[in-house]
């Protein structure tokens, strides 16, 4: 094997790939040839580092220098200075581009974004080349599978997972060990294990990052799950919208088969296990376990009543067990380091770590993995770098369309399954969307409900009809036609849907509405009673106004107005004809003097 003196890690996660990181890689390859460094410096395309907002990201080892937002020209500088002459290009370091810079801050581990994190599920993301099984093996890959097959009985594996306290990372937080125990106890000659990689929560992308950055960790964990429960076949149900993940999973499966780590007689122990990929086709409801199993069978992904539970009757009517990607990504470290190690992290009822996809109005958009129980405040301010443009933090939404909001007053809530449930939100898959003072909470509730109405499979009336009625009420309120009692009507409908919908997604669908009513009732009242939208978002309730003192009569607003509703002349402030204005806001964006704004 060729030994290089320096390694350049280029992020190949979806965020950075969209930011041209593939072109950077090709360019650097040529540049290294030009500098005659191709034998000394090795380029590795890794999975996601997590700091998507600062992409494309490049890390140079052995120094561990992390460069962010690298352009082609800057890459040349890095090659010439750092790779050729060994001088770190300080001005291009991530630590220099963000505010918190100190002497040792250039090292990846010491940046504000990374130093508060504890990476277990994401341990290999941004560290290895996901398309090379040898790199995974070098970081203890497939050792857990070896240990399980040669030293442990299936019961011991289940006991270890149970003792670790690991709970499902996909949404509901069901204890993983218990799930495995049920599947193992189920009678049947053929059993299946499956991986839910149909990450449907809009705004969550941790599963995608694990699949793209460390696919083998999922394959290995599934084989362990197969051994523990008595299954010899696994299915990964992955979104078709994730082409990079699909490609890397296929490569990983081929490589694992080639090495004899999947297939017949693994490690010569007589244990057979293989994995097949199944692509989703864009249906949110397929994240629900019975719907997902129907979809694997090739049907419409509609949930069915339980019991029988999948552990008894699942895929092709055989006993089946389903875990999500992040849950699987935790399995191998638990086997290798022991249940005690895992249980030492987190809180009493929420052990270990959790990955959050932090997005929306926050400076450091990206993936963060923190110990359970870390207060939301730390995620937002210390890791996330706060809200941009000095705006005020209003709320964070967790759990996606099944979850709820955490208002600013509860920002010290520890992030655990139970604490989040208590305040009317939920852990969910870990999407965490930050909202600032410019976001209207009624509008956000409407957004989620619109999503549910689109995605409802239509099988049960409470979800199909009930959520539609709720959406209509919300549209009425945001249009300015709200009446006294509408909020109560929403609450009543929500309670009925929660009590009567068939599947978990339907039962949780009203949550975003209930939680916004609970924490932001005053905003609902402002829409209904005063016909005002305090955040100035809901079109029918806002007016666009020109500040006469600030207007310099340049005419740019009038020129860009698509309906020609702004008039004026030199030296006289411009005026808007409200009978024509469509409130598109084009004028606001163009005004060089910030003289135009929305008013509620």
């Amino acid at each position: 094997m060729q030994i290089a003196r320096s390694h350049v890690l280029i992020c190949g996660g979806t965020g950075c790939l969209s930011n041209n990181s593939m072109k950077l890689k090709e360019h650097l390859e040529n540049k290294l040839k030009e500098l005659d460094l191709e034998k000394e410096v090795q380029i590795i395309m890794t999975g996601c580092f997590g700091l998507c907002a600062e992409g494309p990201i490049i890390v140079v080892y052995p120094e561990g220098a992390m460069y962010s937002q690298v352009s082609i020209k800057e890459l040349d500088t890095i090659a010439e200075e750092h790779l050729l002459k060994g001088r770190i290009v300080e001005k291009l370091l991530l630590a220099n581009r963000t505010q918190a810079y100190d002497e040792e801050g250039h090292q990846v581990e010491n940046t504000d974004f990374f130093k508060m994190q504890k990476r277990v599920a994401l341990r290999n993301c941004g560290r290895i080349n996901p398309e090379n099984i040898d790199e995974y093996i070098a970081y203890d890959g497939y050792q857990a599978l070896g240990k399980v097959l040669t030293e442990m009985t299936p019961q011991q594996v289940i006991d270890e997972i149970t003792a670790s306290g690991l709970r499902g990372r996909g949404g509901a937080g069901f204890p993983t060990g218990t799930k495995w125990k049920f599947a193992a106890a189920s009678e049947g000659d053929v059993k299946y294990v499956a991986c839910n990689a149909d990450e449907g929560d809009p705004g969550a992308f941790m599963d995608r990052s694990v699949l793209e950055g460390d696919p083998h960790s999922v394959l290995e964990a599934m084989a362990i799950a197969g051994y523990a429960t008595g299954a010899h076949q696994g299915f990964i149900y992955v979104r078709a919208e994730y082409p990079t993940a699909v490609k890397r999973l296929n490569i990983a499966i081929d490589q694992a088969r080639e090495y004899g780590l999947l297939g017949k007689d693994i490690f010569g122990t007589g244990f057979d296990f293989d994995i097949e990929l199944r692509l989703g086709a864009g249906a949110f409801v397929c994240g629900e376990e019975t719907a997902l199993m129907r979809s694997i069978e090739g049907h419409r992904g509609e949930p069915r009543p339980r019991p029988p539970f999948p552990a008894v009757k699942g895929i092709f009517d055989k006993p089946s067990m389903l875990n999500n990607v992040e849950t699987y990504a935790n399995i191998c470290p638990i086997i290798l380091n022991g249940a005690e190690w895992f249980a030492s992290m987190g809180t009493e009822k929420s052990k270990g770590t959790k990955v959050f996809a932090v997005g929306g109005k926050i400076n450091n958009t990206g993936l963060v993995e923190i110990e359970m129980g870390t207060p939301l405040r730390e995620v937002i301010y210390n890791i996330g770098g706060g809200v941009p443009e000095g705006k005020k933090f209003k709320a964070a939404q967790t759990g996606g369309p099944s979850g709820g909001c955490i208002p600013a007053s509860l920002i010290d809530t520890p992030m655990t399954y139970d604490d989040l449930n208590e305040i009317g939100s939920m852990m969910g898959s870990g999407g965490l969307i930050v909202m600032d003072e410019d976001n209207c909470m009624v509008d956000i509730a409407k957004f989620y409900l619109g999503f549910i109405v689109d995605e409802s499979c239509g099988k049960c009336p409470p979800c199909r009809i009930g959520t539609k009625r709720m959406l209509e009420l919300l549209e009425k309120i945001t249009d300015g036609r709200g009446e006294e009692g509408d909020v109560e009507r929403l609450e009543k409908l929500a309670k009925n849907i929660k009590a009567s919908a068939l599947c978990g997604l339907g039962q949780t669908a009203p949550n975003p509405v209930l939680s916004t009513i609970r924490h932001f009732r005053d905003e609902y009242d402002a829409h209904v009673r005063d016909k005002k939208c305090p955040a100035a978002v809901c079109k029918n309730l806002v007016r666009i106004v020109i500040d006469k003192d600030k207007c310099r009569s340049c005419g740019l607003c009038a020129k860009n107005c698509p309906v020609s509703c702004i008039r004026g002349e030199r030296k006289v402030p411009y005026e808007i004809d409200y009978t024509k204005c469509i409130k598109c806001g084009a004028c606001i964006e163009r005004c060089p003097f910030n003289a135009i704004s929305r008013e509620s």
Partner: protein, 163 residues
């Protein structure tokens, strides 16, 4: 179905579709993978194509139609040569992607879900492409445009119009 216009499937195309179906014969739950591959090849899944699959995969046409219309990835109408997908996932939405979508609709003169008359562009709203770090995001034939502002839309469209 919206339009009754008959879709012609040539002999060559039929052969290709059959070879895809053949590959999956005997696989349990083959329908969805077959539909994915056929759509990749044919561009969309009109009734005529569904009939061919039904006859050869031995799945009732009603069931195929049910599956095709259930999943948003499958389409019975052709998409534009340049398929614009504006992300309306939560992270993009709170950063104003609804306005980006409006701007695309205004610039191209069609609504989301529609195709321009010359068949050059189609617009769809999609749910989260997983590039939340670049929000708001739009994708055109797989190429991702991130951190968009309304003003970017016109020049992006023009780039494709020239081709």
């Amino acid at each position: 179905m919206a339009k009754a216009r008959k879709v012609e499937v040539s002999e060559q195309q039929k052969k290709e579709i059959l070879s895809i179906v053949d590959k999956y014969k005997g696989t349990k739950g083959a329908l969805i993978p077959v539909l994915h591959e056929v759509q990749e090849y044919f561009g969309y899944l009109p009734l005529e194509v569904q009939e061919i699959i039904s006859d050869n995969l031995n799945v009732p046409l009603a069931e195929i139609y049910g599956v095709v219309t259930f999943y948003t990835q499958f389409t019975t109408q052709p998409k534009g040569k340049y398929a614009v997908n504006v992300c309306l996932g939560t992270a993009c939405y709170v950063k104003g992607s609804a306005k980006i979508l409006e701007k695309f609709e205004e610039t191209l003169g069609i609504k989301a879900g529609g195709v321009t008359e010359d068949g050059m562009f189609s617009i769809d709203a999609c749910r989260c492409v997983g590039a939340c770090g670049l929000a708001p995001v739009a994708m055109i034939n797989g190429e991702v445009y991130g951190k968009l502002v309304q003003d970017d839309v016109k020049s992006i469209c023009e780039k494709y119009m020239e081709n």
